[in-house]
C-alpha cells in the first residue's frame, strides 16, 4: 500500500484549523520531499552558468487550504511568494493557475535575479539582455538604412522621368 500517501492524508487531517501559510522548509521536513527535482526542473538552457539556489536559502509562501483536509476548501489563489534569504530578493509569481508551476517559475526568475545581484555585469543574465538590446538596435538601424535607400532610389527615378 502507498504508505507515504496514507501519511500525507493523516497529516492534513491533523492540522484542522492551523494557519495555512507555512514555509516550504517546514513542509519539506515533514514529508521528506527532496527540493532538488524542483530546482533542477527550473533550469533553462544556460542555467549551468547561473548561481545555484538551495532550498535552505529560500523561504516560500503559497496558499494551502485550511480546515478539515484540503478538499474542504477551494482556494484558487495560486500566487507564490519566494524569498532568497541571504540577498533579501523577493519574487512574486502568479503566471499560471497551478501552484506547482508557479513555484517552478518563481525559482527560475529568482535564480536569474540572484545571479544578477551577485555577479552584476559578469552575469549571463546581464550579458544576454545586453546582447538582445544590441540586436534590437541593429535591426532598427538596418530598417532605417533600407528606408533611406528606398527613398533615395525613388528620388532618382523621379529625376530620370523628368
Amino acid at each position: 500500500m502507498n504508505i507515504p500517501g496514507v501519511f500525507y492524508i493523516t497529516f492534513l487531517l491533523r492540522d484542522i484549523r492551523t494557519p495555512s501559510w507555512r514555509p516550504w522548509i517546514l513542509r519539506k521536513q515533514q514529508f521528506s520531499l527532496p527540493g532538488v527535482p524542483l530546482l533542477q526542473a527550473a533550469g533553462k538552457k544556460n542555467s549551468s552558468n547561473l548561481l545555484g539556489l538551495t532550498e535552505a536559502e529560500l523561504k516560500e509562501q503559497f496558499v494551502r487550504g485550511d480546515g478539515p483536509g484540503g478538499q474542504a476548501t477551494n482556494k484558487t489563489n495560486n500566487c507564490v511568494v519566494l524569498k532568497h534569504i541571504p540577498s533579501g530578493i523577493v519574487v512574486k509569481c502568479h503566471q499560471t493557475r497551478s501552484v506547482e508551476q508557479n513555484r517552478k517559475i518563481a525559482r527560475e526568475i529568482l535564480r536569474e535575479k540572484v545571479d544578477l545581484f551577485y555577479k552584476g555585469e559578469d552575469s549571463d543574465v546581464f550579458k544576454e539582455k545586453k546582447a538582445s538590446e544590441k540586436k534590437k538596435q541593429e535591426k532598427k538601424r538596418k530598417a532605417k538604412e533600407n528606408l533611406e535607400r528606398k527613398k533615395h532610389f525613388k528620388e532618382m527615378q523621379q529625376l530620370d522621368m523628368k
Binding site: N2, P4, L13, R64, P68, G70, A72, T76, R97, S98
Partner: protein, 293 residues
C-alpha cells in the same frame, strides 16, 4: 446541474451612470435572485468607477472591469473576490492569470462581446459557483483540464501526490539499475481509484511516458470527464477508464489488467460531521447525489 441555494440573502448591486453605459442597459440586475427580494439595495457610498489607464471616457479596460467585479463580489460576500474577478477577466481575454496579461492588454478597451462574456461568468460566480466550474476548466501542474460539476475539482495539494508517485518510481528504477545485467524498462502499470477529472492519472501519463493507467470511479460523470480530458490531451491510448465502485463491486474485472506497480488514490475524505464547516462552494457539491464517505 448547478443549483443555487434557496436561503440566499438580498443581493446588493452597485449601480453607476458609467456602469449603465458599460453594460448597455439600465440598473445592473442579477438574474433569479431579485424577484424574491425587495429589489437591489443601492449602495449610497458607491465611488465612481475610476479608469486606471488613459482610455477615453465611456470605454473600460480590463483593470477597470476587474476592480468593478471585485467590488460586486465583496459586497455580496463572495470569497476570493479579487482572485475570482481576475481569473474571469483573464479567461475571457485568453490568458490564464491576470499577471500573465501584458500591459497592452490591460490598457486596451474591452469589446462589448468581452464585457458580456465577463458579465455572464460573473453572474455564475455570484451564485457561489466555484471559479473552476464557472470557467469550465482549470490547470493541474502543466495540464489544462475541463471541469464540470459534480465532478470534484483537483486541489493544489494533489500536485504533491503526483510528485510522491514520481519519486517512488525513480527510486524503483535506481534499484533496478544496481543489478549487474540490463533490465528492460517495463511499462509501469498504475491503478487510480477515484479518478475524478483525471488530474492524477493524466499527469502521471505525461510525466512517465512509458506508463499505462487503469482509472476507476464510481461516478459515471467522473468517468466521462476523465475520458474527455484524456482525449483532449491525446492520451486515450494509454488509459482505460472504468465505471467501477471498489467498495461494492467485485475486483475481478480489475484483475484482468494484471499486476499493478502503483495504486494511487485521492478519494473524497471529508467526514459528515465536518460538513457544517465547509464553504458554501463545497457544500453545494456535497449535496449532490452520491456524496462522500
Amino acid at each position: 446541474m448547478w443549483k443555487p441555494a434557496t436561503d440566499f440573502t438580498t443581493m446588493r448591486c452597485l449601480t453607476h451612470q458609467l456602469l449603465r453605459r458599460l453594460l448597455g442597459r439600465s440598473p445592473l440586475c442579477v438574474p433569479g435572485r431579485l424577484s424574491q427580494s425587495k429589489g437591489p439595495i443601492l449602495s449610497p457610498k458607491q465611488s465612481p468607477l475610476r479608469q486606471s489607464c488613459s482610455a477615453r471616457p465611456g470605454l473600460v479596460t480590463a483593470t477597470d472591469v476587474v476592480n468593478y467585479w471585485q467590488k460586486v463580489f465583496e459586497t455580496n460576500g463572495i470569497p476570493e473576490a479579487r482572485e475570482s474577478s481576475e481569473y474571469i477577466v483573464s479567461f475571457v481575454l485568453g490568458a490564464k492569470t491576470f499577471q500573465s496579461l501584458n500591459s497592452k492588454s490591460l490598457c486596451t478597451p474591452l469589446t462589448a462581446v468581452h464585457q458580456e462574456q465577463i458579465q455572464q461568468l460573473s453572474n455564475k460566480r455570484l451564485e457561489r459557483m466555484p471559479v473552476q466550474y464557472v470557467l469550465g476548466e482549470w490547470d493541474f501542474q502543466d495540464l489544462t483540464l475541463k471541469m464540470r460539476p459534480p465532478v470534484f475539482i483537483p486541489r493544489p495539494e494533489t500536485e504533491d501526490l503526483v510528485s510522491l508517485v514520481l519519486e517512488e518510481e525513480s527510486r524503483k528504477c535506481e534499484k533496478n539499475s544496481d543489478l549487474c545485467f540490463p533490465v528492460p524498462v517495463p511499462h509501469p502499470m498504475i491503478l487510480e481509484i477515484g479518478c475524478g477529472s483525471g488530474a492524477i492519472a493524466l499527469s502521471l501519463l505525461c510525466k512517465l511516458p512509458q506508463s499505462r493507467v487503469i482509472a476507476v470511479d464510481k461516478e459515471e460523470a467522473a468517468v466521462n470527464l476523465t475520458r474527455e480530458n484524456a482525449h483532449r490531451l491525446q492520451l486515450q491510448e494509454r488509459i482505460h477508464i472504468l465505471h467501477h465502485d471498489v467498495s461494492y463491486s467485485s475486483a475481478k474485472q480489475l484483475l484482468f489488467w494484471g499486476p499493478m506497480d502503483f495504486i494511487v488514490s485521492n478519494p473524497p475524505y471529508v467526514f459528515h460531521e465536518d460538513m457544517a464547516y465547509l464553504d458554501t462552494e463545497i457544500l453545494r457539491v456535497r449535496l449532490m447525489p452520491h456524496d462522500c464517505c
